[in-house]
Amino acid sequence: MAEWEPRIIVIACHWCTYQGADLAGSLRYSYPPSIHIVRVPCSGRVEPEFITEAIKSGADGVFVGGCHFGDCHYRSGNYNTIKRFNLLKRALVDLGLEDERVKLEWISGSEGKKFAEEMTVFDAKIRELGPNPIKGGANV
């Protein structure tokens, strides 16, 4: 069997994190090939379902990226993101998911380097945690 490679879903807001990813590309900062980006207009568009469905269908990690507070293109979208994300995360952790498997981080459009670094760190963390417990069939 081929060696396990993680699959990470990054849900990125169009105005900040997605631009950051773009910048990381133009500046030639590399980040792991396990990263798969889904673009949404605002991190406030991220429904908890996006995260649970990604986990359910076998993603090894889910990363949500938005704008820093005060920078939201839509004024307050990211304040909704953090409320929903934190509540969902509490529930997911209570449901036995590892704390580090889902992450929320603010990355601005000018932080290409930060994007690449965050992705590298997150990928390393997921490799340390191993495959998604649903996919791996470990005690489920």
């Binding site: 908890p48 379902e49 909704n80 409320k83 969902l88 529930a91 449901l95 036995g96 417990p133 489920v140």
Partner: protein, 318 residues
Amino acid sequence: MSKPKLAYYLAGGCGGCDIAVVDLSETLVDVALAVDIVFWAPTVADAKYKDLEAMPDGSIDVGLITGNVRNSEHDHIVKVMRKKCKVLIAYGICATSGGIKSLVNLYTTEQLLDKAYVDTMSTDNPDKVIPQTSCIVDSKYDLTLPALFDAKPLDQVVSVDYYIGGCPPHYDHVKTAFTALLTGQLPPPGSWITSGKALCEVCGRNPVLTGKPKKFTTTIKRTFEGTPTEGACLLEEGYLCLGPITQGDCGVKCPNANMPCRGCGGPIPGVKDFGTRAISAIASMLEKEELVDEIPDPVHLFYRYTLAGSALGKKLNR
């Protein structure tokens, strides 16, 4: 024309849904006259599983199943019901989404049995005997029990034609549903035989119905803290009412009694996962992000009736 044949099976439930049918009172007489009850076990009719198994496939017009699928016996009878019934209805929240009893999915069967039979202060069980699927008593009496597994909603085992939520469904709603069934005015298969609208739409406490916008929740209150203001929205007052997410066929019983809704009506049609929708809506209504940490025990709150039917469906890494 002969009367439609009705079968009713209680799987992993409590019988509350059966009582909701009985609560039809005088209407029950009309129902009983209008249908031919061929099987209703174990609560009402004196029918045995082998009688059901002996019926020809597709010979029953309507089958109602309450309770979730929790052991091999439920699994078997539910599959038999599917074969015998033309229309199969998941009746009540356990059958549709798993119900309170699907909270067992937070633990393994071993952990649950250990707590019930061994690790309880009032239990005297020095030999740590727990139920087995088969055992031979006195080396000659061969006894079997069904195997326990994680709770599942009905549609994870067989295909389901219609859903009715509620824990239990309110008798007024049962009447509506039975009327729809008997007159053949049914929505397309796969639908809920419900209003399809949230509790808020019928709740007298909802400010929106009088044209006033809903305000953010500024504090988190537990139900024993204070008394809700007369007629005020419980969610606005901080009581984390799940009314916006829950189907309101119940007649707003809980909010009318100053108790916040806990979601027994099930998700609004089109919503797959009640818990995550509730998390999204309730978190959005909080004024400040710090309030998120004050919500006690989110899993038991948001997934109370729907854990088995949710995306994850169970606790991982138990």
